[in-house]
Symmetry: C2
Subunit: 459 residues, 2 copies
Amino acid sequence: MDRTRETSQDLLEEVKSLIENHKYFELRELLEEYHIIDIFDIMESLEDEDMQIKLFEVLPSDMAASILEESGVEFFSNMISKLEIEHAKNILECMSLGDMADILNELEEDERLKIIDYLNPEDAAAVKELLFYEDDTAGGTMTKGYISINKHMTALEAIEHMREEAEDAETIYYIYVVDDDGKLVGVLSLRELIVARNDSIIEDLMIENLVSVYDYEDREEAVRLVSKYNLVAIPVIDKENKLRGIIKVDDIIDVMEEEANEDMYKLAGSSEHEMDVAEDEKSTLLQQITSSLRGRLPWLILSLAGGVVASLILTKFEVIGDSKFVQLLFFLPLIIGMGGNTGSQASSVTVITLSNRDVERKDIIKEFCVGLIGGVICSLISAILIYLMYRDMDVTLIVSITLLLNMVIGAIVGVLMPLFIRKIDSDPAIISTPVISMFLDIIGICIYYGTAILMLKLI
Amino acid sequence: MDRTRETSQDLLEEVKSLIENHKYFELRELLEEYHIIDIFDIMESLEDEDMQIKLFEVLPSDMAASILEESGVEFFSNMISKLEIEHAKNILECMSLGDMADILNELEEDERLKIIDYLNPEDAAAVKELLFYEDDTAGGTMTKGYISINKHMTALEAIEHMREEAEDAETIYYIYVVDDDGKLVGVLSLRELIVARNDSIIEDLMIENLVSVYDYEDREEAVRLVSKYNLVAIPVIDKENKLRGIIKVDDIIDVMEEEANEDMYKLAGSSEHEMDVAEDEKSTLLQQITSSLRGRLPWLILSLAGGVVASLILTKFEVIGDSKFVQLLFFLPLIIGMGGNTGSQASSVTVITLSNRDVERKDIIKEFCVGLIGGVICSLISAILIYLMYRDMDVTLIVSITLLLNMVIGAIVGVLMPLFIRKIDSDPAIISTPVISMFLDIIGICIYYGTAILMLKLI
């Protein structure tokens, strides 16, 4: 057995040569050995568009449909437009309606309508329903390929029904039970159905207490429930509890990957929109640059304003007296850098914690202690270094005391700011690194100034 | 139908009153309506330990086992030690060996051996095997509850075998096919087995081309494959291709959640270790503080060293001439802050991109353009503000030109540094915000100095 046969150069060459020699039968035989995803990889590696189309045409309809489910909108509309209408219709019939709706969502109105025209009336209605939902809702993430049975059926009738529906179903691991009004009332696993006696009534077999999500809810709620209850799929219902679709675990995984990246983009001081554009293979360089600027510039300009305010505060330093004052300015990068770093570490950790659970008093005490101990250690190191380098006790004391204060305050601000944002009902992830740095820069300079005045008076 | 019946206060009160009134039969009836995870939530909300134990004792063995699978090591060893030995043995028999091994891993040696002594010889051997693997390998993540059949069986024999094994199996969606030596040679989905003719030979039905992962590989490889190929479980094999276990999609989801948080911790300038301790409910405040300091201090000290170097470079500024020189120092926070922010945005985005795909020339050009355009905009804004505030053309020009240069260089360093780290085969995620800031602070100050000298000579 070959292990995972991910696309190799050899295979690609073999496919190319079979296409060039018009050996389509052999090509089809070869491809049936491989996983859809690997075939899609090969297709993407073929640079010649004619070859792509030839390869696609050779595939059986169900395999071609699976390829389209994985592909982007450009590939989809390109392939569909190149195929004979009947062949295209057959392939569309095999596609997951959830994936199809996701692709149609990105097409122009007229092209979308043309594709919907190719579908049978039942599928067309279902796709239109899916297109109605926003992308980031449970409804926008669900698909239609589920099996549902009536609660009054016997186990035998249910198995019969399941066998008929199995071909169109995207998952047969859960069978959903509805009442005469189409309301979701229970769930059966395939395992339970198989071991049941033939004449048992579904209503007596089913599990009534099932986890579901409303179609208008955020898709992250679906992720949370699937993750919490270890599900392979979650049913989506409407306000009247009618079953509208399911979200499968592989789509949950896709959402999780996207959301994790989204959080990282926000933490870095950019936006979800930049990520969407960056991940869209069709986007042009110009679109990518515009989206990045849109995401990042607001934070940069806020930061710029902070820097200008900092310069205004620094002009007040002159009262300290010329020579000391200039020497103290040399340590500005050190002072504000360390406060900012401590603060951004504390705020990032708090934002991450908040995305998983509530932040407790214990977490705040922890950040305070970490800031204090880290501050004492860094302040001692800096005191030794600065004294050895400059042999000036005043400067050494002022810098190291300010460093300690700044790091403690950095830690406190870092942990409290996301909590405050959460309290006023915003997303704590907007506390990105640039914002916290700017905020702490200004606080840090004020503390530096205050400490300097105080120390020089005391000494 | 109630929707998701997550733990409510009412239910908690009901459970409490049933326990207090010794109505154990009614309690068991009530609990059977609920999902394991909800029962676990209730158990955690019960503050009284005796009540917890009573509630746990009431549960049937298989439900109790599922509760233990979800729980942490403390709850596990507490419950097992409080139960009668025979009851404990029954519960352990029902547990997923993968989850059990994860818990045993965290127990003291003598307690671990005591638990293993409770197991039947077969389970004991399997658990010992699982304990042998490192946590972050595929072997350390896998479990034993899979169904495997011999390739020479008929479909009917396979279904019989599956029915026998189904009780212990954690997933029956994939049935793995092995040869006489136990080597993994194929896979069948339950769906395919059910629709097959009774006398078909498994070898002819199975899919030979299956995706698997080696036991010694990183668990992230398992995540990548499950996500890429949309799997519900992935088989784990050893060097000789023998089937050793499976990783189920719900464990993949757990790993994904952990890894996403890990990346965020690293980006913030901390470590995986801090996260592990923070998420461990058993860890004391002292342990949490120590782990945070261990993760964050190295970056802070590195940053401190950078700050000291910066002060050394700044002393060279004195050649510029007293009054201009002091004025220029006022803009230090602005200059280095903006360079650092641009750099950390660029490096974070690059680190995130690298975790998903290769960074291409296009990405580098994009970051350069974003730095350049962002730089021009910020530089113009700062020029206007500074001129209006200080009415000094020299300072205005020096600051705004340096700002532009710094932001462009910040963008370039930010995108290239993670690429360089990847090239020398390290994890690009070590380029955390504190490191990139320190690096760019020093570069920024040198540019500032150079520009100032050059401009003042030119004017």
